[in-house]
């Protein structure tokens, strides 16, 4: 993490006009596509219930299913490695690169590799890494981190993408997505066909068969896992389902939630490396199962976050994410899921502000295909932060003041009256139809990037009293 605080990153994001254009164009569209896609699924609510049941059950027997998966994959000629943390995962992958005399690597999308800062490690060894997912490639060429787990370059406009790729990939300049994509196809095709090693993530591993499932739309995941002679797949310990039938259930909700598709264009099911008579495919398959803090989360009240199937729907639905985008969260996993997962994986200490980046409106829980109760866990983390003295100053100072006032009815009534009068006075001075455009400190933060709604003429308790009379 950088030394910049969460609030400074939020400030930057809110002042970034281009970011707002990009976020407005994309989050609303993704949300709408999701709604339409679920309308086409018969008994959608029952499918979501079953998907949740599968995820909850799997996590409750996680060690058993991982053992079963590893045994079955090994039987099919694949290799399975376990890594306790990111450093060990990097060691494993770099040792494989050495063992297979790898000079170039082509990579599909993998959030675990972001946790590991794997590209950085390869660069140290002088090994070239090519990101092949278009969004990932855009952020790689820009020297940035993904800002959305499904659409990594969601914060970029088409003009920015065209200019960047023209400069970095040396392709003809265009601002038309179709033209840009045509040039990228030509350019990256060469990389796929010469790379020595392909690295991908894993959407789900199937315990009963030793299969890994990889879903994607571009064909880059398929090429990455087919063309190079070695395929390395990185997965978090929780990315598992018991059976192929269970896989078919979670796949029914994954693409619908993520991109509004019934199924992604390519659902790759890989069971070991190329079998000897087969015409093509990698000569070796290594699956690296990475813990990196997850088993610690499993032992806490945040364990439910491990049910997550990484669809990204909670990001698009979140009113905070819609305003600040992914980078402001400062970690690999942004949005509501990240606000729980990041402090869970890495400890609350530097991340205590993230659980406060929510209005607790519950939109994330509502769209979650496996109904994860994110608001419950955000509150849990706020509590933990408060106990450790890490709560933001306005909570630390504000709550005792509020408690003092709110527990004394007469004082409370008086305070409400006073603030109502004050607000109306300020509003009339600012002259914007009763809306407050500027509040005095310590409330000035509220009006920095938005207006405060006008107070009602009569308070609730006043109206209630009049009604009961």
């Amino acid at each position: 993490m950088t030394n910049v605080t969460f609030y400074e990153r939020v400030e930057d994001a809110l002042n970034n006009e281009q970011l707002h254009v990009a976020l407005n164009r994309t989050t609303a569209r993704l949300g709408g596509l999701r709604t339409t896609a679920f309308a086409s699924l018969p008994e959608a609510e029952a499918v979501r219930d079953r998907a949740r049941m599968i995820r909850a059950h799997t996590i409750s027997k996680l060690a058993d299913y991982l053992e079963q998966f590893a045994a079955n994959l090994e039987q099919c000629g694949g290799y399975v490695h376990f890594a306790a943390d990111a450093a060990e995962a990097n060691q494993i992958v770099l040792a494989l690169a050495k063992q297979y005399q790898v000079k170039t690597v082509v990579k599909g999308k993998s959030m675990v590799s972001e946790e590991m800062h794997l590209n950085h490690e390869f660069e140290h060894l002088g090994i070239t890494v090519w990101e092949s997912d278009l969004g990932e490639r855009i952020v790689q060429e820009a020297g940035e981190m993904p800002s959305h787990i499904i659409a990594p370059a969601i914060h970029y406009t088409r003009e920015q993408v065209g200019d960047l790729l023209h400069k970095k990939l040396n392709i003809p300049l265009s601002h038309d997505p179709a033209v840009i994509v045509g040039h990228v196809r030509e350019k990256l095709r060469q990389e796929f066909l010469v790379a020595d090693m392909g690295i991908t993530g894993v959407n789900f591993a199937v315990a009963e068969t030793g299969t890994i499932a990889l879903v994607e739309n571009e064909g880059n995941g398929r090429l990455t896992s087919t063309a190079p002679r070695v395929h390395v797949a990185l997965m978090g310990i929780e990315r598992i389902v018991p059976t192929l039938d269970d896989l078919s259930v979670v796949l029914q909700v994954l693409a619908r939630s993520a991109t509004g598709q019934k199924l992604s264009v390519y659902t790759n099911l890989l069971t070991g490396p190329r079998r000897s008579p087969e015409a093509d495919g990698p000569e070796a398959l290594h699956v690296v199962i990475v813990d990196n803090g997850r088993s610690k989360v499993l032992g806490t009240e945040l364990a439910e976050i491990l049910y997550c199937i990484r669809c990204g729907a909670c990001l698009n639905a979140c009113p905070v994410y819609q305003q600040i985008g992914g980078h402001a969260y400062g970690s690999v996993y942004p949005g509501p899921v990240g606000a729980v997962l990041t402090p869970g994986l890495k400890g609350i200490e530097p991340w205590a502000d993230l659980p406060h980046a929510s209005s607790l409106c519950g939109a994330c829980k509502e769209v979650c295909p496996v109904r994860i109760d994110i608001p419950r866990m955000l509150l849990k983390l706020r509590e933990e932060g408060h106990e450790k003295g890490l709560a933001p100053a306005w909570v630390k100072m504000g709550l005792p003041v509020y408690r003092f006032v709110a527990t004394k009815p007469a004082l409370f009534k008086w305070a409400i009256k006073l603030s109502g009068m004050g607000a109306r006075l300020l509003a009339s001075a600012q002259g914007k139809g009763g809306w407050l455009t500027k509040l005095p400190p310590p409330l000035s933060g509220w009006t920095q990037h938005r207006d405060f709604p006008p107070f009602a003429a009569k308070s609730f308790s006043q109206q209630f009293k009049e009604m009961s009379e």
């Binding site: 997505p177 002679r229 032992g299």
Partner: protein
């Protein structure tokens, strides 16, 4: 050497003693998987979903018409070389002979195991513009083709070329992915690769603008064989 597998699994088992896992049950109850043999109806759904994602569906009246259609398609695309599944895997008798007569040649697709041979072969295969395959199955509810790899069914034929022509016998349609799995219990034990293809390769990574033909085929023709 440090046994990371044991360390990680022990840590998981230990955490499971204290973790809060809402609604977790001891087992997931089995369910009924829908069976459907109304191929005419399923082919309608399949066609609607495939066309919705930009694939072209052809319904030739008989196998003679189907053979002519495939040969015409390939010639229109200007290919006299194709990547293709083996003759026995193309569910249209008469097609291999018709291709031969039309001067359309199948490129040898076996990728050598050694590094240099592998790269040389991949570079050559990457030049071919048309891929011709059968299909192991079709899924009606999502509009997807299933491809199972083997010596006679190379993966790259449906991946490298800009155009992919797939021949799908109508009686290989299944209502859902679950029903396909249920009908083929040892599927993943027989082959290293099974892929479901739902339309042309695409991206929406630039401002959610749908763009087709990224790294896989840009054009997909599905010939529903009677």
């Amino acid at each position: 050497m440090r046994d990371s597998r044991k360390i990680v699994l022990d840590q998981i088992r230990n955490s499971l003693k204290s973790g809060v896992l809402p609604t977790a049950r001891a087992s997931v109850p089995p369910r009924e998987v829908a069976v459907n043999t109304d191929y005419a109806a399923m082919s309608q759904t399949f066609q609607r979903d495939m066309e919705a994602v930009g694939a072209k569906i052809h319904r030739p009246v008989n196998s003679f018409a189907a053979v002519d259609l495939v040969v015409d398609l390939i010639q229109e695309l200007g290919g006299n070389e194709i990547l293709a599944w083996d003759d026995a895997e193309l569910p249209l008798t008469g097609l291999p002979y018709a291709l031969h007569k039309a001067g359309i040649r199948r490129v040898d697709q076996h990728v050598p195991a050694d590094d240099a041979g592998r790269k040389q072969k991949l570079a050559a295969l990457g030049e071919v513009r048309v891929g011709l395959t059968g299909a192991s199955a079709g899924l009606a509810d999502t509009g997807s083709l299933a491809m199972i790899s083997s010596a006679a069914r190379p993966r790259l034929a449906s991946l490298l070329p800009l155009t992919h022509i797939a021949l799908l016998p109508i009686n290989r349609l299944y209502p859902t992915m679950a029903s396909f799995f249920a009908a083929h219990p040892v599927l993943t034990q027989d082959a290293s690769n099974l892929v479901f293809i739902s339309g042309p390769s695409r991206t929406a990574d630039i401002e959610m603008t749908l763009t087709v033909g990224v790294h896989g085929p840009k054009y997909i023709h599905v010939v529903l064989c009677p």
